[in-house]
């Protein structure tokens, strides 16, 4: 393959001459040998295009491809209509880097504006930023938004995704925000325990809906208690579920955040995702990252600008509430294309299919001896079952090209999406039954 040549031999010679050096070795004389790349690595003859492709294909062939994925836990296997990558991979989108001269890049600003509009319609909130990295970053940034001089504690339910909790704790370390975990009771946030934790220094309450175990939380009761104590309410939502469940505005959320991955983004070893953050107008100036606004140019034409810039670190400097300044713009764009193609009717159909198939699978699984739902209550498309020998179940399904639920202590966290067929689910149930019969 052709070599990437940052500068020609003549340029290299001229630069060395200007420095009064005879060779590049002299230039790097102060760099210890132990940290240098071996010479052979630099003089590798390289591969032809054909050899490169073959090498990469043989690596790709080592990936395990599952015909059915019954695992979610923060990353979901939804169908991606081919039009989504087809449009998202247009070279104008793939080559567009972050717009430093933002207003010159009207195209990317418009794509962000369209995304903000879509996610605000879905969450029912007033304002959205351009997105952040993933649900965990979004949760942590949301908790920081709510912190003020008097209220410095972020309350997080133990039913939230462990990654969200971990990133919140990392952010908390830096901003002096103490993270307190509200205990879990029977797979749900413990409302009675929460009541005792709503102290004068509590700034925010983060509730994930559906929660990590797939269960639907009693959000109105939890948020009602928090609001009465002057604590801001953060809803961590799987956006696909918002097609069926009440939106953030209806629930009285101050912030709704989460992950766009279910919208047209592949599971791909867990990334890249795209986090979303939306809030009420009252909190707009606390929202981190970029916000694109719509305006008119000097000739009255529709135009887009970065707005509310004074919040951001390049202007507000050390007093900025956040130092986040980038996002997963291409993932966000992909999610926007998915949403635009599917429409509310499309994602409602996906959500209904997920709920229906997950409940069918749960019912069928629980007819097996030794398998039962761990928690009572409503769930969306994930649920935990108690199960003998989760490792054996995982291994048995794996041999048949099925990725099992996530093994948890004494059980499994299952997820069923619209991609599973009845026949596939029936065969998975049969396999689980066979394993359980032998335990």
């Amino acid at each position: 393959m052709s070599q990437y040549t940052p500068h020609t031999q003549t340029e290299t010679r001229d630069m060395l001459a200007a420095l009064g050096l005879a060779s590049a070795d002299e230039l790097f004389a102060d760099v210890p040998q132990s940290v240098r790349l071996p010479k052979e690595a630099l003089t590798h003859a390289g591969l032809t295009q054909m050899e490169t492709l073959q090498a990469i294909e043989s690596l790709a062939a080592q990936n395990k491809q599952y015909t059915l994925t019954l695992r979610g836990a923060g990353c979901y296997d939804h169908f991606i209509p081919p039009i989504v990558p087809q449009l998202a991979n247009k070279k104008e989108f793939l080559s567009a880097y972050t717009p430093y001269q933002a207003e010159l890049s009207q195209g990317i600003l418009q794509s962000i504006f369209e995304y903000q509009t879509l996610i605000c319609e879905l969450t029912g909130m007033d304002v959205s930023n351009a997105g952040v990295y993933d649900f965990a970053t979004a949760a942590a940034e949301s908790a920081v938004m709510c912190r003020d001089r008097k209220r410095t504690v972020a309350l997080v339910s133990a039913t939230a995704h462990p990654d969200a909790l971990a990133v919140m704790q990392t952010y908390g370390f830096g901003t002096g925000t103490e993270v307190r975990v509200v205990p879990c009771k029977n797979g749900h946030t413990d409302l009675d325990a929460l009541q005792t934790m709503l102290t004068d220094d509590a700034a925010s309450l983060y509730i994930q809906q559906p929660n990590y175990f797939g269960m639907l939380e009693d959000v109105p009761a939890l948020f009602g208690a928090a609001k009465a104590a002057g604590v801001k309410c953060i809803l961590g939502a799987n956006p696909m579920t918002l097609a069926l469940l009440p939106d953030g505005k209806t629930l009285g959320a101050d912030i709704v955040c989460g992950d766009m991955q279910p919208f047209g983004l592949p599971m791909a070893f867990g990334g890249p995702h795209a986090g979303f953050m939306t809030c009420t107008q009252a909190l707009m100036r606390r929202l981190p990252g970029r916000i694109v606004g719509q305006t008119a140019d000097a000739q009255g034409r529709r135009a887009f600008v970065l707005t509310l810039q004074a919040r951001e670190q390049h202007i507000r400097r050390e007093k900025a509430a956040s130092n986040i300044c980038t996002n997963h713009a291409h993932s966000t764009l992909t999610a926007s294309i998915y949403l635009t193609y599917m429409g509310l009717r499309g994602i409602t159909a996906v959500a209904e299919s997920c709920v229906s198939k997950a409940h069918y699978f749960a019912d069928a699984l629980c007819k097996t001896d030794g398998v039962s739902l761990r928690y009572r209550g409503e769930f969306f498309h994930e649920f935990v079952t108690d199960l003998p020998d989760p490792a054996a179940v995982e291994a048995a399904l794996d041999t048949q090209g099925i990725l099992s639920g996530l093994p948890v202590e004494g059980g499994m966290l299952w997820c069923v999406t619209e991609k599973a067929s009845k026949a596939q689910l029936d065969s998975a149930v049969k396999l689980v039954g066979e394993v359980c019969a032998h335990v």
């Binding site: 100036r285 810039q309 004074a310 202007i315 507000r316 007093k319």
Partner: protein, 125 residues
């Protein structure tokens, strides 16, 4: 630049109008609003907050910058001017009417100038 007699001024361009020995209104000077440009947002403390002379207690946002506002006296916030939250432009229009907070139980005054001293100070800037 407009100033107003009877008010006291801090080097950081806040004004203080003493209503009695321990109560005062606090705002930012006409010079300050002029330097900041069109204000779009004001972040005020809450009633009951304790102010310490010389420490920031509020911030103002113009189109291009955010600036801290420092307490010219130590005391307790009795009241905030909620009008400013919806109409920050009133600070640009009439800086000496647009008080930020009413402070009570004043225990300490920072280094303050009278009108003539403040005019002389601004001329040195």
């Amino acid at each position: 630049m407009e100033t107003k007699s009877g008010l006291f001024y801090a080097k950081s361009h806040e004004w203080v109008q003493f209503l009695d020995d321990t109560t005062a209104l606090v705002g930012i000077s006409d010079h300050a609003q002029h330097e900041l440009g069109d204000l779009v947002f004001v972040n005020l403390p809450e009633a009951g907050d304790v102010l310490t002379a010389g420490e920031m207690f509020a911030d103002v946002e113009s189109v291009k910058a955010v600036s801290d506002v420092y307490a010219p006296v130590s005391g307790t916030v009795a009241e905030i001017n909620e009008t400013l939250l919806d109409e920050p432009e009133t600070i640009n229009q009439s800086a000496y009417d647009a008080w930020f907070v009413k402070v009570e139980n004043i225990t300490e005054r920072g280094e303050l100038m009278d009108e003539d001293e403040y005019i002389a100070y601004c001329e040195t800037l």
